[in-house]
Each structure stands twice: as structure tokens, then as C-alpha cells.
């Protein structure tokens, strides 16, 4: 029995820490990803997402912390983890001066995939890239590059995919196709940990974690994360929202104001006070205000602002 079979978690890490040149990049991060789960990893740039992912796939050694990835110890079994995990780096990291087929063939050889040629052919066919097989990877568009990278990561049939911002710089349709594919893979029992900046992608994840400045601020399903912050939110429509926004920001109960096109979202943790303040400032000005469900984006912006002000306070 492989160690992987003994655990219900594809990833189970506790208290990961990493410092670079004295800079504390990842602070006590603990994560659990169930098998067959799509786990969204969110956070602003430079918050430690990439470093955390690299520690989980054996590329980086954590300064402290323990854990397993597919049942293998992340400190000792990096070779096994590399063999059974598919890792897609943040920037396109295949060889631009090799063709698609050559890139796939190289990967297949590295993982010593039995029936290599057929595996590459199959992979090309599944991705609809058979006709492009002889095109140089460097000439591909962002969307195709990303499809090729995913195909390469999937060649050795990993049980866990670690995807670091896979859809950055990819058009919306290609993103949607990509996520459809991820969901098919997850349905087939493959676990996926994916970092992203897009809310529409976060919504499609089974579980989410939000990291900021190296610290994990929230973890759970979207509902759990939303509920956990106890925010109530109002949507305000009308004229000159920018002016109103300035005014609202001075109010005690207003934690944040965010503009979504024609609509201004106002959130706060003290629901009663917020309601009173909104009535005072908004309704009297003739604009419409309506209480809505707090959504993920409100929460993430709130978390981000919160972490920043905390960091500012500590400094």
C-alpha cells in the first residue's frame, strides 16, 4: 500500500515557514486539500503563494514545518513527490525553441512514461493540437501555451496538480475552457491546487484559502469564508458615486467601499450602525440603497485591506 492511499488528503501541511535573506515570506501556513478537490489559493502578488506551492512540491525546503503531499513527506520524499505531482509554473516554463511535440516528448522521457510516443500523440489529440504539433512553443498564443503546459503536466497522469496562476494573461474564453477541463479532471479524482487572482475562478473552487503577506487569513468553502468575516453589504446606485464614496469612507461603520461599474458596494461589520449611516447619507441624497449578500470579492478586498492596515500598524 502506498502512503498516498492511507490519507484522505492530497495535501496536508502544517506550520510551513520560509525566509529568504531574513525576509519572512511564508508564516506558519497550514493547508489541507482533499482528494478530488479543487482548492483555490488566493492572495495578492508577493503574498507567498508561489513559495508555498514550491515547498509543497519539493522544489524548496521549508525552514520549519511538516507535512505530506500525496502521502509523501515534503521534507524527505521530494523525488517521489516530483514523480507523482504535476506542477505548472507561474510563467510559461517550457522551451520556446522546441516544438509542442518536442516539449511533450521531452517531458514524457523525463517521467519515463511507458508507450511514450502514443502518450504524446494522445495528449496532442486530446488538446486538439495535433495539427500544431510541429509549431514552436514560443510562437503560441497565451491560451495555447497554457493548454500545452497543462497537457505537459498531465502527461504522467499525476494525482495532484499544483497550478501557479495558470490563467494569468489568458483570454476569458480560454480561461473558461481551462476551468471546464480542471473540473473534469477533479471529477475523475485528481486533486487540484490552483492559485488565481480571478473571482470567477475562485467561485468555481470547492475550497479556498486566502493568504496575505505570508499569513493565511482564511480557509474553507466560499460560504464559510464569507460568513467568517461577518460583513454586511449594501449596493448603492445613483449619480456621482465617487463623491458619495468619499463621504461614506469617513463613516465609522463603513469598513470599505468598492465600485463595481455603476454600483457601489459598501461593507461593514456593524450591520445596525451601517444601516443607519447608509440611510442618513444615501437615501437623503436621493440615491437608491439595497442590502445584498456579501460576495467573495467584497470579502477578499476586505481581507486584503485588513492585512495591509495590520501590517502598517505593526511597522
Amino acid at each position: 500500500m502506498t502512503p498516498a492511499a492511507q490519507s484522505g488528503f492530497a495535501i496536508d501541511v502544517q506550520g510551513l515557514n520560509k525566509r529568504f535573506d531574513g525576509k519572512h515570506v511564508v508564516k506558519d501556513v497550514s493547508l489541507r486539500v482533499r482528494r478530488g478537490e479543487i482548492f483555490g489559493f488566493l492572495g495578492p502578488n508577493g503574498s507567498g503563494k508561489t513559495t508555498t506551492i514550491r515547498m509543497m512540491c519539493g522544489l524548496l525546503k521549508p525552514d520549519s514545518g511538516t507535512g505530506t503531499c500525496l502521502g509523501y513527506d515534503i521534507l524527505r520524499d521530494s523525488a517521489e513527490i516530483k514523480r507523482s505531482v504535476g506542477y505548472m509554473t507561474q510563467s510559461f516554463s517550457f522551451w520556446n525553441d522546441l516544438t509542442i511535440a518536442e516539449n511533450l516528448d521531452f517531458v514524457a522521457r523525463m517521467y519515463q512514461i511507458p508507450g511514450r510516443r502514443q502518450a504524446v500523440e494522445r495528449s496532442l489529440a486530446t488538446l486538439g493540437m495535433t495539427s500544431r504539433a510541429r509549431q514552436l512553443a514560443g510562437e503560441l498564443s497565451g491560451g495555447w501555451k497554457q493548454r500545452m503546459a497543462l497537457a505537459a503536466c498531465m502527461l504522467h497522469s499525476p494525482q495532484l496538480l499544483l497550478l501557479d496562476e495558470p490563467t494569468a494573461g489568458v483570454d476569458p474564453r480560454a480561461r473558461r475552457d481551462f476551468w471546464d477541463e480542471l473540473q473534469t479532471l477533479a471529477a475523475g479524482g485528481i486533486s487540484v491546487l490552483v492559485s488565481t487572482h480571478y473571482m470567477d475562478e475562485a467561485v468555481r473552487c470547492h475550497k479556498l484559502a486566502y493568504i496575505s503577506a505570508g499569513t493565511l487569513l482564511a480557509q474553507g468553502t466560499a460560504e464559510e469564508i464569507i460568513e467568517g468575516q461577518h460583513l454586511s453589504t449594501w449596493a448603492i446606485r445613483g449619480d456621482r458615486l465617487a463623491e458619495l464614496q468619499e463621504e461614506l469612507r469617513k463613516k465609522a461603520a463603513v469598513a470599505q467601499t468598492v465600485t463595481f461599474g455603476e454600483v457601489l458596494h459598501v461593507s461593514g461589520t456593524n450591520a445596525e450602525l451601517l444601516e443607519r449611516e447608509i440611510e442618513q447619507t444615501v437615501v437623503s441624497s436621493g440615491r437608491r440603497a439595497e442590502k445584498i449578500d456579501t460576495d467573495l470579492e467584497d470579502v477578499f478586498i476586505y481581507l486584503m485591506g485588513h492585512a495591509e492596515s495590520n501590517a502598517g500598524g505593526n511597522a
Binding site: 522544489l59 525546503k61 524527505r76 523525488a79 510563467s91 510559461f92 518536442e102 522521457r109 523525463m110
Partner: protein
């Protein structure tokens, strides 16, 4: 555990194939493979000529005879000297030399022929512009040969008895003591005792070219992966450092051998360097030297953060190799500290090795003192390279 993973020939072969394919795509690299040896050959073989010919020469002759005319003609024919001027006296010759108009002035004293016939061993004086001794050295080295050819050509028939000092004649000079030459040529310059400088330079070039291209190209090969972000991908795959490193190196061994062949062909058919040794031994020596340089390159690539730094390191390494390896200046003529540094450089041993094999026909026993330091260097640096190669990204 790291130790659990064994070397896999299949994966290694994958790296080899990938590297070849990429090389094929890289036109600039290909241009370098062919361009660098040709450019260096042109520079060092033609432009930087340590055996310059047709050097401007003036004649101050106070004695006109068949012998002196023959001597001047022989100088001209040797192609080292180009007689451009006849000067009235020594004074005028000195001035021309001082002004840099002439490289040499040949002074034939009055009564030269008469003294020659009286066996008084007269002397012709050649004054040379000694500013750059390497420029004049070879021409001056040819002078004695010219004098001898004149003796053999002109002192014939009734004058044959005057040939006493000619080495060719020693065996047949019955009862005669081998005396001094009928006339001598004295020069005001020390010249290099090594009379085959040209032959020395061309084989020496092989080591220089291999050092430059091998160190630079392997240095770039690995930093390029790091700079383009593909190294992270390689590291995330189940490949051991040894597989990646040796796999990446193999194509460059091939390139090094191609360069060696280009240089050998040019040496043979362009510079007419005589090959006394075994050509197989030459290639074995080249292979060993290539290996030594590849380990230097790979160590540099572990130190360099980007391709530019790799190039800078390569140049930094290249310079002492040119100066201290005995390629440009005689090794024994260097000060002690320079010899110590030179003794650490693989090029020093390769120069001795390749010159020994090509020019002297050295065999295994003669070569060994240069072979083992190269082997030691390679093994030690390979160890350093494997240690410094970053398995993980931190």
C-alpha cells in the same frame, strides 16, 4: 530521499536530445561554433603574425662583389627582408632606423670581399629596430641560413676551400679542422631560440579557442535555463543534477571536437604545420581538455545569475589563460608567481600536450606529465560543479 533515485539513461538521453534540438534552432550559436575558430585563426594566424615577412631593409654597402650582391639577393629571396633603400653610410642607416623608416640596416664593410678571400672572417653587421623583438626575431633567425647558402653558392670551384666552416662540408673536409665560417653576420638583437614560432602558435590556438567557446557556451547553456524560467520546470521534474548536467554537456563535447577538427585542418593545409604525432592522440588530448573546460563552464553557470555574468566570468577566466599558459610568452620566461598560476590552468598542460604530440611526435610516456594534471583538474571541478548546482531554488 535524494539517494533513492538512480541515474536513468533514458532521462539522460532525453536531456541530450533536447539539447541537440535546441542547438539546431540557435543560429547564433551555430555561427559561433564556426565563426570563433575562423576569426581567431585570422587574428592570430594572419593579423597577429609573430613571423612577419617583407620587412623594410636598407643596405649600406662599401664593397660590391659577387658575394655581397648574392648575399643581398638571398636576403630578398628569403622573403623576410624587403630591400627598399641603398644608403650612403652607417649614419644614414641609423637615422632611418630611428625614424622607423626601416626595420633593418645591413652594413657591409669596406674590403669585405678581400678579407673573405684572405680568410680573415669578415663580418656583416645587421642593425635591427628592436622595439618589437617578436617582429624582427624570425627574420634575424633566418640570416645565418642565408649566409650559409651564399657561401655554398658563391664559394665554389677554386674558392671551395674557403667553405671550411660550412657544416655540410665537415665530413668531407679531409684533415681540415672545422673552423669558423668564412664570414659571419652579427646582429644587434637577441632572438628567440625557438625558430618555429609559427608552428607553435597554431596548435596553441586550439587550446585557446576551445577554452573560450567551451567555457562560455556551457556557462550560457545553464544560466539560459535559469534566466528563461525553464530551470524551475526541469527541477520540478524527476531528474537528478548529474543527469541534467552531463546531458547538457554532451552536445558541447561534439562541438569542441568539430572546432578541434577545423583548427587541425587549417593548421595542416593553411599554415602547413607539420604533424609528427599520432592524430588519434591529438583527439584524445582534445577530448580531455574539452572535458576540463566544460567543468569550468558548468561551475561558472552555477555562480552566474544571468547570461551576461556567465560571459563575463568566461572572459575573466580566458584572459589569464592567454597570458600565463605559455601560449603567448615562453612559460619558462615568466616570473615564479606567474608560473604558479599558470600551473593551475588546464590550458598550460594542453599547450604542452598538443605541441608535444604535433610537433615533436611525443608518445604516451612523454605526454603523461601533462595528462594527469588535466584529469585531476576535471575530476575536482566536476565535484565542485555538482555541489554548487542548485537542486532546489533556494
Amino acid at each position: 530521499m535524494k539517494g533513492r533515485q538512480r541515474f536513468s539513461a533514458a532521462r539522460w538521453w532525453a536531456v541530450v536530445l533536447k539539447e541537440f534540438t535546441q542547438l539546431k534552432r540557435d543560429r547564433l550559436t551555430f555561427a559561433m561554433i564556426v565563426g570563433i575558430p575562423i576569426m581567431q585563426m585570422a587574428l592570430f594566424g594572419f593579423a597577429i603574425n609573430t613571423v612577419p615577412r617583407h620587412l623594410d631593409t636598407g643596405i649600406v654597402s662599401a664593397d660590391e662583389s659577387n658575394v655581397t650582391r648574392s648575399f643581398i639577393e638571398a636576403m630578398q629571396n628569403s622573403s623576410y627582408f624587403k630591400i627598399v633603400k641603398r644608403l650612403p653610410n652607417e649614419q644614414a642607416g641609423r637615422e632611418a632606423l630611428a625614424r622607423g623608416q626601416l626595420m633593418f640596416v645591413v652594413n657591409i664593410p669596406a674590403g669585405f670581399t678581400r678579407q673573405l678571400l684572405r680568410r680573415e672572417h669578415p663580418s656583416i653587421l645587421i642593425e635591427a629596430d628592436a622595439t618589437d623583438p617578436t617582429t624582427t626575431g624570425s627574420a634575424l633567425a633566418a640570416v645565418n641560413g642565408i649566409a650559409q647558402s651564399v657561401v655554398q653558392r658563391e664559394l665554389t670551384g677554386p674558392l671551395a676551400g674557403l667553405q671550411a666552416g660550412a657544416p655540410n662540408d665537415r665530413s668531407s673536409s679531409l684533415g681540415w679542422e672545422a673552423g669558423p665560417a668564412p664570414f659571419s653576420v652579427s646582429v644587434h638583437q637577441l632572438y628567440n631560440p625557438d625558430e618555429i614560432t609559427q608552428y607553435n602558435v597554431v596548435p596553441g590556438l586550439m587550446g585557446m579557442i576551445l577554452t573560450l567557446t567551451m567555457v562560455m557556451m556551457t556557462g550560457l547553456a545553464i544560466t539560459r535555463e535559469r534566466e528563461r524560467g525553464t530551470m524551475e520546470n526541469l527541477l520540478a521534474m524527476p531528474a537528478t543534477p548529474l543527469e541534467v548536467m552531463t546531458g547538457k554537456l554532451v552536445p558541447y563535447v561534439g562541438i569542441g571536437l568539430i572546432q578541434a577538427s577545423i583548427i587541425l585542418l587549417a593548421a595542416r593545409y593553411v599554415f602547413f604545420v607539420p604533424f609528427f604525432g599520432n592524430i588519434g592522440a591529438v583527439y584524445l588530448a582534445a577530448l580531455l581538455f574539452i572535458a576540463a573546460n566544460l567543468t569550468v563552464g558548468i561551475t561558472f553557470s552555477s555562480l552566474a545569475r544571468n547570461q551576461l555574468q556567465a560571459v563575463q566570468l568566461a572572459i575573466f577566466y580566458f584572459l589569464p589563460n592567454i597570458v600565463l599558459s605559455g601560449f603567448m610568452f615562453p612559460f619558462k620566461g615568466m616570473p615564479g608567481w606567474a608560473q604558479v598560476i599558470g600551473n593551475v590552468l588546464p590550458l598550460t598542460y594542453f599547450n604542452r600536450l598538443i605541441r608535444g604530440i604535433l610537433l615533436k611526435g611525443n608518445g604516451w610516456a612523454d605526454s603523461w606529465p601533462s595528462v594527469w594534471p588535466l584529469m585531476l583538474f576535471t575530476v575536482v571541478l566536476m565535484g565542485v560543479a555538482v555541489i554548487t548546482y542548485r537542486r532546489t531554488l533556494d
